[in-house]
């Protein structure tokens, strides 16, 4: 405790500014001074897990050892927010099933002529609740799932949450909105009130570690029909959110659909997507006329 207090007292305003600039340059995530308390606490946690007992030593080591990655990744893991649960904001999944997927099939020539699987990306996928929710909704409620292949990918910048997504075991809080029949059908109890997603679904969802602002890294994603990128762009400053938008655009098929969080608006970020009003809300499309 004494050490934690010493650590907290060691982070000056100038330290915070230097750190915020450093973190922004490497991740695109911008922390304003209003986030000072949150950042201080997370940095304290990182310092406690390091061999250093003050900010100056830890920060110097972070920069020197940047390429080895471990400290940097730990920092990202601490500073990214990963609160989520199954079927969160599921009106957007309703929109996906009722309007978006039928439109995707239509635009790709119909069931009989579709070339390749329908591709869905969840980014950031955090601990996996979102991509597995998509899988559950598609399996249970899309009437074309027996006729069409669906490929689901999840991606996140945080390696810790990806490890949890891979293991896919969840407690009450995450599962509160999962209908009981689905829980019995697609999850296995593993003790201590926790359930693990069925192996067949886990193995069907492909997970990746990527920073959405990193253009070269994002180039592995191409031709996605549907992208969920919810509640992350609000953490970026204008420049980074714009680059993230460009990278999402590059990941999508012309005509593909992008879902943002309910409080987010692409029109404040970039004009490259076309907003489309669905009964369940706004979705953004990569224009079909433009490459």
């Amino acid at each position: 405790m004494a050490r934690a207090q010493a650590v907290g007292a060691g982070l000056t305003d100038a330290d915070f500014t230097r750190f915020a600039e450093y973190f922004y340059k490497r991740t695109g995530i911008h922390f304003a001074s209003s986030k000072r308390y949150f950042v201080d606490k997370r940095i304290e946690a990182c310092i406690r897990q390091s061999p250093y007992d003050n900010f100056a030593g830890w920060f110097a080591a972070l920069r020197v050892n940047e390429r080895s990655g471990a400290m940097h990744q730990e920092l990202i893991n601490q500073l990214t927010v990963n609160e989520t649960y199954f079927l969160r904001e599921d009106y957007q999944f309703d929109a996906m099933l009722s309007t978006v997927l039928p439109n995707v099939l239509r635009d790709r020539g119909g069931v009989a002529r579709i070339d390749g699987p329908v591709k869905i990306l969840s980014l950031p996928c955090s601990t996996g609740e979102e991509p597995y929710s998509i899988a559950l909704r598609v399996l249970e409620e899309w009437d074309r799932i027996d006729d069409v292949d669906v490929e689901i990918h999840g991606a996140d910048i945080d390696s810790d949450v990806l490890a949890k997504a891979t293991h896919a075991s969840y407690g009450d809080r995450s599962l509160q909105r999962v209908p009981k029949p689905w829980l019995h059908k697609y999850f296995a109890p593993i003790g201590a009130g926790r359930y693990q997603v069925d192996e067949a679904i886990r193995s069907a969802v492909t997970l990746h570690r990527v920073n959405v602002c990193d253009t070269p890294a994002m180039r592995v994603f191409r031709d996605f029909d549907v992208v969920f990128c919810r509640n992350v762009l609000i953490y970026f400053d204008e420049l980074s959110s714009r680059r993230a938008a460009e990278n999402l655009y590059g990941a999508m098929r012309p005509g593909g659909y992008l879902f943002l969080g309910h409080s987010e608006s692409m029109s404040r970020i970039s004009p490259i997507f076309t907003p489309t009003r669905l009964p369940e809300g706004i979705v953004y499309q990569r224009p079909t006329g433009a490459k």
């Binding site: 069409v148 492909t206 180039r219 490259i272």
Partner: protein, 207 residues
């Protein structure tokens, strides 16, 4: 049919982007394929020697989406030289270009303030309206000062009206006399008068 897994290990693209040099990317800015031009522009992030090529591409590019990609990369260079080169387009006859340039300049809070004295004094009132558009979105502590100055001093009602619109999210009761004075300066402009009349109750708490 059903859920299927595919592990992405590479990409089936014809161009292996990560192997391209900066010179190759610069050359691809003029490629006939818009998607290649877009990827080249984004791939030049952090390549400072490519800034002149990107600024040239802003002028030559015919696809608005590709131009936006170029501006995304180039506006990361928040320098007076880059801002100055973009500010020229505020006077463009191409509405999409001048709007895109204004949006890019609004992302350049370090360099924009140095340009403001000349931009708010530009002889072309359309340039001054575009400058107000930049100020509306620019995240900088002095935007309120600049908008106030435009409202107080600019001789064109369209510029003043645009500045009032831009100031409203920041405005308080203290700005009410400024808006009333602006309305008095242009008694024959119904739109400006309407803008002020619509704004005042919200500022003075009489709404």
């Amino acid at each position: 049919m059903g859920l299927v897994r595919k592990k992405i290990t590479g990409q089936p693209e014809q161009i292996t982007w990560e192997r391209l040099s900066a010179d190759a990317l610069r050359a691809l800015l003029g490629d006939p394929d818009p998607d290649v031009r877009r990827e080249a522009a984004l791939g030049l992030e952090g390549v400072e020697e490519a800034v002149p090529d990107l600024l040239t591409r802003v002028i030559l590019e015919t696809e608005p989406n590709i131009r936006d990609s170029v501006l995304t990369t180039v506006s990361a260079y928040d320098t007076e030289a880059v801002a100055g080169a973009l500010a020229v387009h505020l006077a463009s006859d191409d509405a999409a270009l001048r709007t895109a340039a204004a949006e890019a300049l609004a992302r350049m809070p370090r360099s924009m303030p140095a340009l403001l004295p000349s931009l708010v004094a530009a002889p072309d009132h359309d340039v001054r309206v575009m400058t107000v558009m930049v100020l509306a979105d620019l995240i900088h502590p002095d935007t309120g000062y600049w908008l106030t100055r435009v409202i107080r001093d600019d001789p064109h009602p369209n510029v003043v009206t645009a500045a009032i619109d831009a100031l409203l999210p920041l405005a308080t009761a203290e700005h009410a006399p400024l808006l009333e004075a602006a309305a008095r300066r242009f008694p024959d402009d119904p739109f400006l008068r309407f803008t002020v009349q619509a704004a005042l109750p919200g500022l003075t708490g009489t709404a």
